[in-house]
């Protein structure tokens, strides 16, 4: 137990402590979710209520006009499609390379293992902005500007350390005996990996996939650098620009923000246990 637990005392003090504890929790939860609730409220009220002063706490009117507007906006539709493509492809590539690498690090002995791991992890501390100019020049030379490939490549590189880190942690928890048994039965390392490790590691791989997907979905710098045309821009680039397109249309901006975050929030609510175990996998040992 933490040092924060109350030591002895009367029942009265303990009840007060419990009440304070729950007051603290409720405040904390409210502060965390307030912006989403408030923006949701802004997105469903009519224009006159939106601009009312003093503002209403609970919505007095409802209107779906803002949602109708953004969903009929072809730029927004395209951005949702682009974000989905970029994040999905990045996740698949990261899982492919990441699981091979993580399996080798978790199971095999090879020289320079420690420097290799350090090199891979150093990417997560790497200031991405430091390479946008050289990459922009190189991508221009090979015609990658304005293509999904440009951000899929860069997102993959910056998501890989996370993917590898998580998968190493998950693979290490799997029993080695099973693979040894498979190898005694004549399976190669690759076969042992495919037939034994992959099915067993599925929950861990799934968690890794969620976190990698969120990482790619939220990426902004590379997309804002390499994608100059709306035909390939993801939502993270398009929505902030709404502030310029719908200058005073705050309701539409709010609706767009809600549409983009709701899938993430649902994902987090369903998989919160797994996500927490994934996020803290490395930190405890560190």
């Amino acid at each position: 137990m933490a040092s924060a637990t109350t030591t002895g005392g009367t029942t009265g003090r303990r009840t007060l402590g419990t009440v304070l504890f729950y007051v603290f929790l409720v405040t904390f939860v409210l502060v965390s979710v307030f912006p989403l609730l408030w923006i949701f409220k802004m997105s469903i009220v009519t224009k006159s209520e939106l601009f009312a002063s003093p503002p209403t706490i609970l919505p007095q009117t409802t209107s779906t006009a803002e949602y109708a507007q953004i969903f009929s906006d072809s730029a927004f539709q395209q951005a949702l499609v682009n974000s989905t493509i970029i994040s999905t492809v990045t996740t698949v590539i990261c899982l492919f390379f990441g699981s091979l690498t993580a399996y080798a690090i978790a199971r095999m002995r090879f020289r320079f293992k420690s420097p290799v791991m350090t090199l891979i992890l150093s990417i997560s501390f790497f200031p991405a902005v430091a390479i946008i100019a050289p990459l922009f020049i190189q991508f221009s030379q090979v015609g990658l500007i304005n293509t999904y490939a440009s951000v899929i490549i860069t997102d993959t590189v910056f998501a890989l350390p996370l993917t590898i880190w998580l998968l190493v942690a998950f693979f290490r928890e799997l029993p080695v005996d099973l693979e040894d048994a498979a190898k005694v039965d004549g399976a190669t390392t690759i076969q042992a990996f495919r037939k034994v490790i992959v099915p067993l590691a599925a929950p861990g791989v799934f968690t890794t996939a969620i976190l990698t997907f969120i990482h790619a979905w939220n990426e902004f710098l590379f997309a804002n650098t390499f994608l100059l045309d709306q035909s390939t821009q993801p939502v993270t680039v398009v929505i902030p620009n709404f502030a310029t397109v719908y200058t005073v249309d705050y309701g539409a901006q709010a609706a767009a923000a809600v549409v983009v975050t709701v899938p993430l929030v649902i994902m987090v609510l369903i998989f919160q246990r797994r996500i927490v175990s994934g996020l803290t996998a490395g930190a405890v040992k560190g």
């Binding site: 137990m1 965390s32 902005v129 430091a130 946008i132 993430l264």
Partner: protein, 277 residues
């Protein structure tokens, strides 16, 4: 099996850094490679008031937001490190801000700080704290950005520290209690030292993340507020004239970020996972 990942990382991340260093020593433009000019770009960069403003903003933002995230995160971690009803709900609520794309969080908060429809601007005005439009004052924008960052990442810090707290065995506290250690003594003599590893990981992660702040400033301030990263972006992507200075600034960010990481690992004694092998 390790090779493909390693190759892609070296080609896409490390090779460009070297190329960036070369570019920063030349008068190249986005269109063509130039000739060697020594450290001219660096001298110009250090004299540029925009660079200095970006640097100060970045340092203030990093120090203040990481300090607040650490103190509040530690408080939350200590408070919820026990069994209680509704634990899942709290954990889910913690993850909500973390899962938001930074730019979308910035769009949402911008709407709340906004002077016509913003609830925060209204409340600040009604209570007589701030009457100026928050979004048109750079100092207020910096404070607002720090608050948004604290809102967004404190839960993450709390989760990392909570994971660290949960591996401290309860017997240690029991023994200390038997020996008559009070709450403060237990906190400073047991909790903090045993939590050092998790604290260093969380603080280093957050420091380097805040140090490269870009999207939050970009969207919160509608491109008004400068950071080191926005200076680089302006230089290499928007203003054609400052390509050299932009490259010099990107090398500056890389080197200083590296030094920060080195400081944590060497001076503060942070253990990296690689050393466990």
């Amino acid at each position: 099996m390790v090779l493909p990942s390693l190759l892609i990382i070296v080609i896409i991340a490390f090779f460009p850094i070297l190329y960036g260093i070369v570019l920063s020593l030349t008068d190249s433009t986005i269109a063509g490679f130039g000739s060697f000019v020594g450290f001219e770009n660096y001298t110009e960069m250090f004299q540029n008031p925009d660079f200095r403003e970006g640097f100060y903003n970045t340092v203030i933002f990093t120090v203040v937001s990481v300090a607040m995230e650490f103190i509040i995160g530690l408080g939350i971690a200590l408070a919820i490190n026990r069994a209680f009803r509704g634990r899942g709900l709290v954990r889910a609520a913690v993850l909500v801000p973390w899962a938001f794309p930074t730019v979308i969080a910035a769009v949402m908060w911008r709407l709340m700080f906004q002077s016509q429809v913003g609830i925060i601007q209204y409340l600040a005005g009604a209570m007589g704290i701030i009457s100026d439009p928050i979004l048109s004052n750079r100092s207020l924008l910096l404070i607002a950005s720090i608050l948004v960052d604290v809102w967004k990442t404190t839960p993450f810090v709390a989760l990392l520290l909570l994971a660290g707290l949960q591996v401290i065995p309860g017997e240690v506290y029991e023994a200390a209690r038997v020996d008559g250690a009070n709450v403060m003594q237990r906190f400073f003599r047991i909790t903090l030292p045993l939590l050092k590893g998790a604290i260093l990981v969380a603080v280093l992660f957050r420091t380097l993340d805040s140090y490269r702040v870009y999207d939050l400033f970009w969207v919160m301030s509608n491109r008004e507020l400068a950071s080191l990263s926005t200076f680089v972006y302006e230089g290499v992507r928007i203003s054609q004239l400052q390509f050299g200075e932009g490259n010099a600034a990107s090398v500056f960010i890389f080197v200083t970020a590296f030094l920060i990481a080195l400081f944590f690992i060497r001076v503060l004694g942070m253990r990296t996972s690689a050393e466990e092998e």
